[in-house]
């Protein structure tokens, strides 16, 4: 099985060198380059189409050559996404995409790895792997499509379904308290945590862009609408007419202001957030919480992750973005340190190490 063209370094000859702005070739790609030849088969009206489009639009931003980008997915409707991206892709098994991504990134730090998952794939069967890939700070960008339902298997409750949700598998209503993805990601020490919405195209692009540039684990919850099995799950606040009043767009360093007229804000009362009207009761901008993505401890991000409609506007944007060495970086460092202290390993010497004797 040989070939005649010049050999690319396979697998790892320069695989350990992460791709950076300095060593990336300047590539001019466009969205079209990332569209694969496969016909997209999601249900008409599915939020996934929008997510796919924004993802394709954003890929050229990073200056990576196409062949250096890999999409790894689990099982679910979200799992189909790699087939529609004209990059390297791997549609793996339910819940385990982060594990393959971890191994791939460890072996090939030069690649950009995206993990596409859903609320069931990531938080049910895959919960453990999300926990560990985040705490290891594996340099992967995990986009979790949260539609509060199991779509592919036709409509069972998911770990994010609301309490009492009636579905095919829970006709009397769910009895499990739903889990909050961003709280989980923050608890798992994720170094980048964000939320966006499938149809908020600009915002989603910006969020994906930020995630791509983040060095380390990036967890993005995308509120996605499954119009067949759970239509309107987020509509109460994501709809175009109401979103300005019911969602809080986070910006680092800026006070938390929302509302169509930019006249409402969030301040802290004790440990809890509180919605206030600017101008009423002497409340001014200086009373408001100022967003800080870069705080060492995620107290603020955790508070934001506990703000739910209708008590609060739903925060979107980057909750947290802190620098931390990545998993693959630390592995390479240890290898380099071993060589620095003891020289490169010599196999002949190793085989003959310990106590040997000769028979003549």
């Amino acid at each position: 099985m040989s070939n005649s063209t010049p050999k690319q370094p396979q697998n790892g000859a320069n695989g350990d060198t992460p791709l950076t702005a300095q060593n990336a070739e300047i590539i001019q790609l466009s969205r079209k380059d990332f569209v694969s030849d496969q016909e997209v088969r999601w249900c008409p009206g599915c939020g996934d189409y929008s997510i796919l489009a924004q993802t394709q639009k954003v890929m050229p931003d990073f200056g990576y050559p196409k062949e250096k980008i890999v999409f790894i997915s689990g099982i679910g409707c979200s799992g189909r996404l790699p087939y529609y991206m004209n990059t390297y892709g791997f549609h793996t098994i339910h819940g385990r995409a982060p594990t393959l991504a971890t191994g791939l990134k460890a072996a090939r730090p030069d690649l950009m790895v995206w993990v596409i998952t859903g609320d069931g794939d990531a938080l049910s069967i895959g919960g453990n792997h999300v926990l560990h890939s985040m705490r290891r700070n594996v340099d992967l960008k995990m986009v979790m499509f949260n539609n509060r339902i199991y779509g592919l298997t036709k409509g069972q409750a998911s770990p994010t379904s609301e309490f009492g949700k009636r579905t095919k598998s829970t006709p009397a209503g769910t009895i499990d308290t739903p889990i909050q993805p961003l709280t989980v990601a923050l608890a798992a020490e994720a170094s980048f945590v964000a939320r966006s919405v499938d149809t908020h195209t600009e915002h989603l692009q910006q969020t994906l862009n930020r995630a791509g540039y983040h060095k380390g684990s990036a967890f993005i919850e995308v509120l996605q609408n499954c119009n067949i099995f759970n239509d309107g799950a987020w509509r109460d606040f994501t709809d175009r007419e109401v979103r300005d009043d019911r969602m809080l767009v986070l910006e680092h360093g800026k006070p938390m202001i929302f509302g169509k007229d930019r006249n409402k804000g969030i301040r802290l009362r004790g440990l809890c957030p509180e919605v206030v009207q600017l101008g009423e009761n002497g409340v001014t901008e200086s009373d408001l919480l100022v967003h800080d993505e870069q705080a060492d401890e995620p107290y603020l991000a955790l508070v934001l992750s506990r703000m739910f409609w209708p008590e609060f506007p739903v925060p979107v944007g980057v909750f947290r973005a802190v620098p931390r060495p990545t998993h693959d970086e630390l592995i390479v460092q240890q290898l380099a340190a071993a060589v620095a202290s003891g020289g490169e390993g010599n196999l002949e010497t190793l085989l003959r190490s310990g106590e040997t004797w000769t028979v003549s």
């Binding site: 892709g89 971890t102 090939r108 003959r352």
Partner: protein
């Protein structure tokens, strides 16, 4: 040194001796056994060892679960097992005696540290009366030696506490054994000097204790003979002692170098495979990346991801962990990526007996996945072969772009034998190239000879493609639900694995090419079977031995070999798994000899069963 009495003690020549050292934590039996082994090996005997670790991580001193043992068999002939039972049992305390004496045959020699037989220790060992005095040991030849006292006396004048001195009594015991078996103390003394350079008092103490033990053996009147076991005729070369797990780790490191692919090892701690992770994680200067995953599934997932990226992805576990990995193994079969999965088998089912050996995962690795999901399987037969089969497993994985299972077991993992260190220049490259040519590339287009798919790795320009667990169209690799396509792909995947048979050596037979009885084995039963067959052949019986290293596919002549004997016996430490495969595939009425006691077979039991069958034929 005190003056020694002039004694002439006759020397008896023996072909083989098996010694078991048994004692408590603090008695240093692993070290004693290890030193004796080394000395015997350096002298030129063939050796085989089996350590017996305590059941508990820590146990109170003198208690039964704290006993650890070390059995070494050494010989002037080529031996294959650590011995069915010991000729000599060295018991350093009552608990060690209690747990081991039943393995000593009548007439065997029993050397005890009489100082340790205090009332307190007898109580801890649940002895109602002192076995040294109540007559229960009369069928053995008992040597009561106050090892602790004599040892302490020999260290008089040294600036050490009593406790420190007591820790050296294992060297005293070793010295006695060296005298008894005419071994030189020099290798051990050199070892002591090397290891304790920084602590000359300890070095002095250990050396004195060793020499005092030797002198004791020489001067005491309790030993009437000492023994000599002549060197064996081993092939010339440089040797070292190696355990199966050590050979496995070295083998896969070497394989990665021969394949010119960096090694990525993902695993989760599990007895008895954890040591492979420990050893490989010490090879950072070789570029080996090891990863302790959060669970078994993450371990294999990471290995698959690494292989996907073009590295040599590997994972290891034991029975329960392999069960967890089955879905991911199926993914590797469907996407067709190279991967090596090591199963160091242990007694099951479920948690089973984690430190005891068994070879009962064969059917699991052959079939334990949904649908028809064929995977090549290899199994080393001895600790040294763990190295060779590691290279073979990687060779198959890369050449056929397939996952491969490597079956080891707890007996191989911890047992040791001398290993002739290969010269790297003698080992062939097993490197394969990834596809880089865009115009002719389809991910599931195959090499016509091996049926291996064209394997391209991420980072290769122009070859962007997607793979996954869904069924895919032949050649293009696009998701396909076409009925005929699925049938064709299943056949292709089966044929790819079956075709490996053309690429592996034919099965070798030890003995005549036809006859009355063939004993067929796999894995660590090699030693006992080979020894039994040697003995039977020496008696003129018509018996031969064949041992499989490739379990899937079988060597292409296996059917013919089976057909050349009137009976086929398949001894296995399981309830009949290879038997099932052989019977089903070849319609041969193979006879199973199946014992699952968590221990390797004794030579005598294979011999007895073979004789029973042979006598029955006549």
């Amino acid at each position: 040194m005190t003056a020694t009495k002039e004694r002439r003690v006759p020397t008896q020549e023996l072909e083989r001796v098996t010694i078991r050292f048994a004692g408590d934590s603090g008695d240093g039996m692993q070290l004693t056994g290890g030193q004796f082994t080394r000395t015997a090996a350096v002298f030129g005997n063939d050796i085989s060892t089996l350590p017996d670790f305590p059941a508990e991580i820590r146990a109170p001193a003198g208690s039964l679960p704290g006993v650890s043992g070390f059995q070494i068999s050494f010989s002037s002939a080529d031996i294959h097992t650590p011995g069915d039972e010991p000729d000599v049992l060295v018991a350093m305390n009552p608990a060690a005696l209690k747990t081991n004496v039943q393995d000593l045959p009548a007439g065997g020699a029993l050397i005890v540290n009489s100082d340790a037989f205090t009332q307190q220790n007898l109580n801890k060992a649940a002895y109602a009366s002192n076995p040294l005095t109540d007559g229960t040991l009369k069928q053995y030849t008992v040597f009561e030696i106050p090892i602790s006292t004599l040892n302490e006396r020999s260290l008089e004048g040294l600036d050490m506490t009593s406790k420190q001195k007591d820790l050296t009594k294992n060297f005293f015991a070793l010295g006695i054994m060296f005298w008894l078996y005419e071994r030189s103390m020099d290798p051990t003394i050199r070892w002591i000097d090397g290891k304790f350079k920084a602590r000359p008092v300890i070095a002095e103490a250990n050396t004195r204790a060793l020499k005092a033990g030797y002198a004791f053996g020489e001067t005491t009147e309790i030993f009437h003979t000492h023994y000599r076991v002549a060197p064996a005729k081993l092939p010339p070369g440089t040797y070292r002692n190696i355990t199966g797990n050590e050979a496995t780790a070295l083998g896969f490191l070497t394989a990665s170098k021969l394949a010119d692919r960096p090694l990525f090892y993902g695993s989760y701690p599990i007895t008895p495979a954890s040591d492979i992770l420990h050893q490989l994680s010490g090879y950072k200067s070789f570029g080996v990346k090891t990863f302790q995953a959060e669970d078994e599934i993450a371990a294999i997932g990471a290995a698959i991801g690494a292989s996907y990226g073009g590295a040599l992805g590997m994972t290891a576990s034991s029975g329960p962990g392999i069960a967890l990995k089955s879905e991911a193994l199926g993914l590797a079969v469907m996407v067709e990526l190279p991967l090596v999965v090591i199963d160091v088998q242990r007694a099951g089912p479920s948690t089973g007996m984690p430190t005891k050996t068994e070879q009962a995962d064969l059917l699991q690795v052959m079939f334990g996945r949904n649908s028809d999901s064929p995977i090549p399987v290899v199994a080393p037969a001895t600790p040294g072969e763990c190295f060779d089969l590691a290279i073979e497993a990687v060779r198959i994985a890369l050449k056929y772009v397939t996952p491969v299972v490597y079956l080891s077991d707890a007996f191989l993992a911890t047992g040791a034998e001398p290993w002739k260190i290969p010269a790297l220049s003698d080992l062939e490259s097993i490197a394969v190239e990834n596809w880089t040519e865009a115009s002719t590339f389809h991910p599931y287009d195959r090499d016509p000879q091996t049926l291996a798919r064209k394997w391209a790795v991420p980072g290769t320009p122009g070859l962007e493609h997607r793979i996954g667990g869904l069924e895919k169209a032949d050649i293009t690799g696009n998701v396909s639900y076409d009925p005929d396509n699925h049938h064709r792909m299943q056949i292709l995947r089966r044929e790819k694995v079956a075709g490996i048979a053309a690429d592996i050596p034919p099965l070798d037979v030890f003995g005549a090419a036809s006859g009355d009885l063939l004993i067929l084995g796999w894995g660590s039963t090699y030693g006992a079977i080979r020894s039994a067959v040697e003995r039977l052949q020496a008696q003129g019986r018509s018996v031969a031995h064949a041992h499989l290293r490739h379990l899937n596919p079988f060597p292409r002549n296996l059917g013919d070999v089976l057909g050349s004997y009137r009976r086929v016996l398949i001894p296995e430490v399981n309830l009949g798994q290879l038997s099932l495969l052989v019977r089903g595939r070849f319609l041969v009425d193979a006879i199973g000899y199946n014992r699952v006691r968590g221990k390797p077979f004794r030579i005598s039991e294979i011999e007895t069963e073979a004789e029973r069958i042979l006598d029955d034929i006549e």
